[in-house]
Symmetry: C2
Subunit: 505 residues, 2 copies
């Protein structure tokens, strides 16, 4: 273990902090753009964000970083320092590998593709979007070639979002999900159980103002520290910020109070990860989230394992009824059923339930992997999409609007992002099972509206480490097991087996 910190290490941190500060400044500008900015503010905002984006790139490839890294090569470092160097080195090398003009071309292609995609989706016109998608595929293959010409380009792209979780492990997890979920959903289709799916939706309207008030209640109940956050509305809910200021957003559907409520709980999970990062490591890799799968594990843990549990509704239903007296006769069991219905004919990913969701992801993952490998041509996407929906979900989109044009991700040129959603769910199940095994009576805590022990467990085992460990090591240290789909499979088998009485099907 090192006794003296090398000067080069301090130099590296100082240089990296500038990158981190420019990025978190961009985060505020993006939040503002989605939540506060007046309609006509876009021209200035685009330029501000573009300047900050190229500055953060320039600061990352700067000689100050390169020189410090070179000097630290082989230096005597503590484990933590070595982790910091590893993380900065990875980002630096990737940034150096890709020419700035390619980055710019990808960014411009994305700017142009976004309105093209919007219009194509509105007009059910995949042909109109195809050239932009083709260009993105070509540019991203080129990008991957620059990073590493000897590896599967999809793997390289996946690492943008999951820098240290192997694609092999990700594929194994996704394969397990498919193997479990396709037959389980088929069984649910034939189940005769009648869940109280309209327990809330049959009770009239839920005004947005009152839903917002309820969302504040649920955030307070879960322990959201308002002195470090805020709740606002946004067209597409998200969370963003730093450990000092992690904000959440939601949106409202007046016919469905569970949508905004569970989406708020989801974003709370993201925020609580950010808030759990160590204050004193702000601006360094030890104060940064590990990656998208870990982030998503936190949002899904709170949304699914807490917010969709019967225990949660035992504690929270009175608060709900106080806001919406029309629900006075709903029981915790009915609320639980309403929050866990499996949709048999839903084509839209963002409206999917906890089970079918992953089949939506699988379709996208398989298609984008084949697009990048060259095994699939862009023109074939709609047909392949529809075939896969029929195969996995037993339903077939009638239009591309509700089919392969539904998501924004490919218009951004993001390939390798979709799988992180499912990986997050699998990780959430594994972490929750481990927390449940270690906390005296976690279910009882949730039923009593008591979340301190869970917060402590997550902070201790996940949040406080930042990017100290690589993904699998983080999970293994937290749960004692390598990261697999096993806990998720156990969780859904037990939960949905009981809900839909699948043993009798």
């Amino acid at each position: 273990m090192a006794t003296d910190t090398p000067d080069a290490y301090d130099d590296l941190l100082a240089a990296y902090r500038r990158v981190a500060n420019v990025r978190s400044a961009s985060g505020i500008l993006s939040w503002d753009q989605q939540v506060m900015m007046p309609d006509d503010g876009t021209p200035a905002r685009s330029q501000q964000l573009s300047t900050l984006s190229s500055l953060s790139h320039e600061l990352l490839v700067d000689d100050a970083v390169a020189d410090a890294l070179e000097e630290l090569d082989g230096a005597d470092l503590t484990d933590e320092q070595a982790a910091v160097v590893r993380e900065i080195q990875r980002k630096h090398e990737r940034a150096v590998a890709v020419p700035a003009d390619l980055i710019e071309e990808i960014s411009e292609t994305a700017s142009e593709a976004l309105p093209t995609w919007k219009q194509a989706k509105a007009e059910d016109d995949f042909e109109a979007f195809a050239p932009a998608l083709r260009k993105h595929v070509e540019l991203k293959r080129e990008y991957a070639e620059h990073v590493d010409p000897d590896r599967d380009p999809y793997e390289v792209l996946f690492e943008e979002f999951e820098p240290c979780l192997s694609l092999e492990r990700a594929e194994a997890i996704l394969a397990d999900l498919r193997e479990t979920l396709v037959p389980m959903i088929e069984k649910i289709r034939t189940s005769e159980v009648d869940l109280a799916t309209d327990a809330f939706t049959s009770l009239g309207a839920y005004p947005a103002d009152e839903q917002e008030s309820l969302c504040r209640d649920v955030l307070s109940a879960l322990g959201y520290p308002w002195e470090r956050g805020r709740l606002d509305t946004a067209p597409h809910p998200f969370s963003s910020g730093t450990t000092f200021d992690a904000r959440v957003t939601t949106r409202f559907d007046e016919s469905d109070p569970l949508g905004s409520l569970l989406s708020t709980v989801h974003e709370f999970g993201h925020a609580t990860y950010t808030l759990g990062l160590p204050d004193d490591a702000y601006g360094t890799p030890l104060g940064e989230d590990r990656d998208l799968s870990v982030h998503e594990s936190q949002s899904r843990l709170w949304e699914n394992h807490v917010g969709r549990s019967q225990a949660f509704w035992e504690s929270f239903l009175p608060t709900f009824v106080e806001q919406f007296p029309q629900a006075a006769d709903v029981t915790p069991r009915e609320a639980y059923e309403a929050a866990n219905q499996v949709y048999e004919d839903n084509l839209v990913r963002v409206e999917a339930d906890e089970l079918t969701y992953h089949l939506h992801i699988l379709v996208r993952f398989e298609i984008e992997r084949d697009l990048i490998s060259g095994d699939l041509d862009v023109a074939e996407v709609p047909a392949v999409w529809n075939d896969k929906y029929e195969e996995y979900l037993g339903i077939r989109p009638e239009t591309d609007t509700e089919g392969c044009l539904q998501d924004i991700h490919w218009s951004h040129g993001n390939f390798g992002y979709f799988p992180t959603y499912s990986l997050g769910s699998a990780m959430a199940a594994q972490l929750y099972a481990a927390a449940d095994a270690e906390i005296d009576d976690l279910d009882g805590d949730v039923a009593a509206g008591e979340f301190d022990a869970l917060h402590e467990w997550l902070t201790e085992h996940v949040h406080r480490h930042g990017a100290r460990y690589e993904t699998n090591e983080l999970v293994e240290r937290a749960t004692g097991e390598p990261f697999t789909a096993d806990a998720f499979v156990d969780y859904v088998t037990e939960k949905y087996g009981a809900l839909y009485d699948l043993d009798s099907v």
Copy 2:
């Protein structure tokens, strides 16, 4: 006139746009900090702003700027291009002249001085603040020495805020204000006229929510384009933004509806200048405000010449009464009187009226000028302050809290800022008189709630030019006369002569 734009000119603009974008990004972060940020967000925000601040400095002194400027020296440029080069050159030279570590020391001194000043003000303890003020004075003298060792250092500091309005002209204007206002205020003291000063304040409380609604009404009435702006509350009202997104803030005192209303009109004036800058020059000096005096002229024109006019109350009072029916019996004349009372015993600048305000400024101007010249020691500030208040305003502060500790500016190390407030008022009067002479029936327009002609005049003669002309040239082109205090003297002599029947005093 040039036929081809030199490449170096495009390079200069491209380099400068990055500076402008970083600065406007900082503006959003500051707005967010004052309006939206949760309480504990400061540690990250300070670091983000500090990084952006040093980046904008580095970009401004960068070789890309220096090389382009050198190449353009003597180049064949259009008048507009020459103005752009002049503005960027001035900023570049000043940034290069001052060592980065001095900038940083000033910034750190300000960070430390702020809480010191707050506490000193709370505890009426000037001694506690004196060392910080002394350090600021020393650092700013050093700063001025770097910029130009041969000139009056106060003049150099004044140019931070007024880069192209000579201190000589400013001093002449301030002297005229003093000469007119000191005797005028003394006369008002002895006037026996009884204005309807409590026309609104005698009518009970004005809830903040309804005041906010009224502020939205006044913004709409004046023509604020909501698609390019928003209204929020902030502890210290301000406006900020770009031509695409210029926001205003206000605050509420439930006993006094005129405070938030006129403060909103003031910030509207600032915003309308920003909004009138040409869209296509965003990020260049042609799309930037000229300086603080011009900015303040726009806020004061709308606040004083419109918002405090009897004509305005003829059109706006019904809207006011709709929001606050308790004011149903107030007449436009009474509203006009209430909005224009001269306070005889007010010691606080930010609560001053249109006349005494400038004497508050004169005290500060004279003191800070002598501090920087070395003619006044920091220890003498309280006594000199109190003497000057007695001399100019006939009142003497009993504590430094309500005396020389009342303003935040010196804790920031800002010397040369205060005079721009008065200069703005003088310029507002000169511009309004010129607009009044050119617009068919401006008073009738205001009385009819019709502001298009005034907006057009201001955009045509002031806003659209950005920093194209130096300050005095801008005023001279707009009004046909050099910038003086004459119009202001005429305006207050007529207005307050009539209000207080001063001929009979």
